[in-house]
Symmetry: none
Subunit: 414 residues, 2 copies
Amino acid sequence: MQDAEIIAVGSEMLTSQRIDTNSLYIADQLNALGVEVRRKLIVGDDRPLLTDAIRSALEHAGLVILTGGLGPTEDDVTRQAVADALDRKLIFSQEICDGIEERFRRRQRKMAEINKRQAYVVEGAEVLPNPNGTAPAQWIEHQGRVVIMLPGPPGELKPLFAKECVPRLMKLLPAQVIRARFYRVTGLTESDLDALIAPVYTKYTNPSTTILASPGDIQIHLRARCGSAEDAERLLAEVGGPIEELLGRHLFSLNGDPLEAIVGTLLRERGATLSVAESCTGGMVGERITAIAGSSDYFVGGFVTYTDRLKIDLLGVDSELIAQHSAVSKEVARAMAEGARNRTGSTFAISITGEAGPESSTGAPVGTIFVGFAGPDGSPEALRFAMPGDRPRIRGFATQAALDLLRRRLLKLD
Amino acid sequence: MQDAEIIAVGSEMLTSQRIDTNSLYIADQLNALGVEVRRKLIVGDDRPLLTDAIRSALEHAGLVILTGGLGPTEDDVTRQAVADALDRKLIFSQEICDGIEERFRRRQRKMAEINKRQAYVVEGAEVLPNPNGTAPAQWIEHQGRVVIMLPGPPGELKPLFAKECVPRLMKLLPAQVIRARFYRVTGLTESDLDALIAPVYTKYTNPSTTILASPGDIQIHLRARCGSAEDAERLLAEVGGPIEELLGRHLFSLNGDPLEAIVGTLLRERGATLSVAESCTGGMVGERITAIAGSSDYFVGGFVTYTDRLKIDLLGVDSELIAQHSAVSKEVARAMAEGARNRTGSTFAISITGEAGPESSTGAPVGTIFVGFAGPDGSPEALRFAMPGDRPRIRGFATQAALDLLRRRLLKLD
C-alpha cells in the first residue's frame, strides 16, 4: 500500500491534444499520505491492453488507481477491464441506475438507454458516490491490494478523491501526520525566487519543498511528515519563518488562495468596492474576480474598452491624452482607472492597457503593459511592465500585476 | 512497427512538478507517420521496474521509445535497463567518450570521470549523434522490433528525433497517408451526441473516431489512414458527411477552431462589430473573444454589470424591469444586449445574466442562465437555460451558449 501506480484511460491522452493532469493531483495527494507513485501509465480505450496493464500494475504496486473510461459509450472500457483483470463479474446496480435517472430528471431530461452502462459494478466493489457526475467511483480490495476506479473529469475526480478515497486510504496506512504550508508569490522570476530562498530550504529534506511556477504566480509547498502534529508544525515554522521574511511583499498568499481571493477578502474587510477597466485583457480581470463565490459583496462591475472610442465614450478618457501618449501609456491607464471609479462609484478601480501581440498595433513593443489604480486617497497612478512570452502569457501576467497592485495598495505596502 | 509505446524515465515526472511533454511531440510525429501510440508509461529511476516495463512494451508494440535516463549519474538507468531487457551487454565506446571530452574542451571545461557512463552502448546498437548534448541516442533492432533511446531534454530530443529517427522509421514503414477531420459541437450532451452519431461511426474502424467532452464543447476527431490521400479523403467524406448532417446546427467548427474564433471569422466576413454585456460571467465572454489575435477587427468592448445599479446606469436597463422580473430574467437579458449595442454603437451585442451559485442570491435556481442577443434586424431576444454543475461549469456553459447564439444568428440558423 506504500507504492501506487496510476493508470489514465483514454485514447485522447495519447495524442498531443490532451494531457493527463489528474495524475498530478493524485500524485500530490498520495505523496501527502506517504504513498509513493512508482509508475504512471496512459492507455487508450483498448480493453485487452488495459486488462493487461491492470494485471501488471497489481504485480508491482499495492494501490492501483484508474482514471477515466467510466463514461456511457462503447469506448469506455475501464469497468470491464478491471472485472477481467480481477476475474470478477460486472453486476448491474438498480440503485446506481436510479440515481443516474434522477440526475437527468432534475435537469428535466430523460436518461438515454446508453447511460445504463454506467450502472455496472465490479463484483464486491464498494461504490463511492459522485455528486458531480453520472459515473460513481468504485473501490475494490483484492488480495491485500486496493484498486480504485475514478471518473475522468477533474471536476468530478478531485472532490471524490478528497472526500471518499483519502479517508479510506488513511485508515489503511501507518499513522503519520502531515502538515503543510502553501505560499504563493508574485513579482519574482522563478530563478530569482530560488536564489533567494534555496539557502534556507535546501538544508532540510523534511519538510520537503516543492516550487511550481506559472505566469506571475509561483507556488511554494512545504510539507512536513512527522509522528506528531506538534513536531510537524515546529519544523514548518523553522523553515517557513525565514522564507516568509525573505519573500516580503512578494508573498501574497499564506494558505494557497489565489490573488483574486486574497484581494476579495481585503476588500470585504474594508467594506470597500471595486470596479475594473480592461483593454488588452478583454475581461480577464473581471472573470477572475467573479470566479470567487460571494464576489458580489465587493465587485460592482466594469468596462471592456477594446477600442479608443470606447475608452473615450465609456470611461471619459480625454481623446487628447490618447492622441498625445497613445492608448498604451501610463497616462491612459491612470485615466481609465479614474474613469471606472467615477462612472461606477466604486471605492477602488484598477485598469489595464497594453500590447499583448502577436503584432504591435500601437507602436509599443509587444509585452508593454500599463496597470492603473485609483482610490479615494491621492491621485490615480500607473505602473509600466515589459512582460515576456506570447499573447496568453502576457495577458495572464498583466491580470496578475493589476490584482497585485490593488493588493499592495489595500495593504499600504511599498 | 505500426504500434508504439513511449516510456518516459525519471522520478521527477511522478510528482506534480514536471510533466512529460516529450511524449506529446513524439506522439504527433509518430501519428504523422501512421504509427499509433498505444501506451505511454512514466517510470521512476528504478532499474528493475524499468527493465520489466521495457520487456512488457516489447510484447505489445513493435516500436518502443525511451526518453530520459541517459545522464551521467547513478540515477540514470535507461542504458542498463535496455541492455537487461534485451539480454545484451553494455559496451564502452572510446569514440563517444572522445566526443564528450571534446565537447567539454570546447567550453573550456574538463570532463568529469562520471561522464564516461554516457559512453556505454547497448551491444549492436546504432549510435545517433546528439549535437546538443553529451548523451547520444541509440537505435536498436531486436527480433523485428525497434527500441530507441533518446535523451530527456526537449532541446536535444526534438532535433535528434526529427533528423535521425523519422527518416529511419520512414524506411521501415509502409507508405501511408493520414488525413483527419476535427469537429466541434455545442448544445448537445455527450450521451445525446453519441446516441445520434454512433450508428454511423461504429460501422468503421478506419477512420477512427474519438469523442472528447468539456462543458458546452464536444470534440469529434476522425482519422483515416490509407495508402493514398484520395482514399483517406474519400473515407473521411463517407463517415464525416452523414455525421455533419446529423449534427446540423449543433456543429460549429469543421477545423477544430474554438467558438470564439468561429464567430470572429463570421463577424469579420460581414464587416460587423460586437459588444458584450456580462453579469454572472464577469468578463469571461470578452476574455475569450479577445484571446483571438486580431479580434480588434470586430470587437469593440463591453460591460461587466455585476450589480443591478450598473445594469441601470451603464446599460440603461429600466429599474422597473428589474423590480418586476428580477435581474435574472429574459426581459433583463434582452435589455442588457440592447443597452450594450446602443451605448457602443456595435452591429451586434450579446448578454448574459444568471445565477452561477453556489447559492442563489436572486431566488432563481442555481444554473438558471439567460443569454441575450441584439442586432440591426428585429427585436432583441433572449434564451433561457438550466445549466448543470458547479460555478465554473455553469459560467463556462453560459459563455458558450452566448457565443453560440451569436453564431446562429450570424448564420441565420434556426
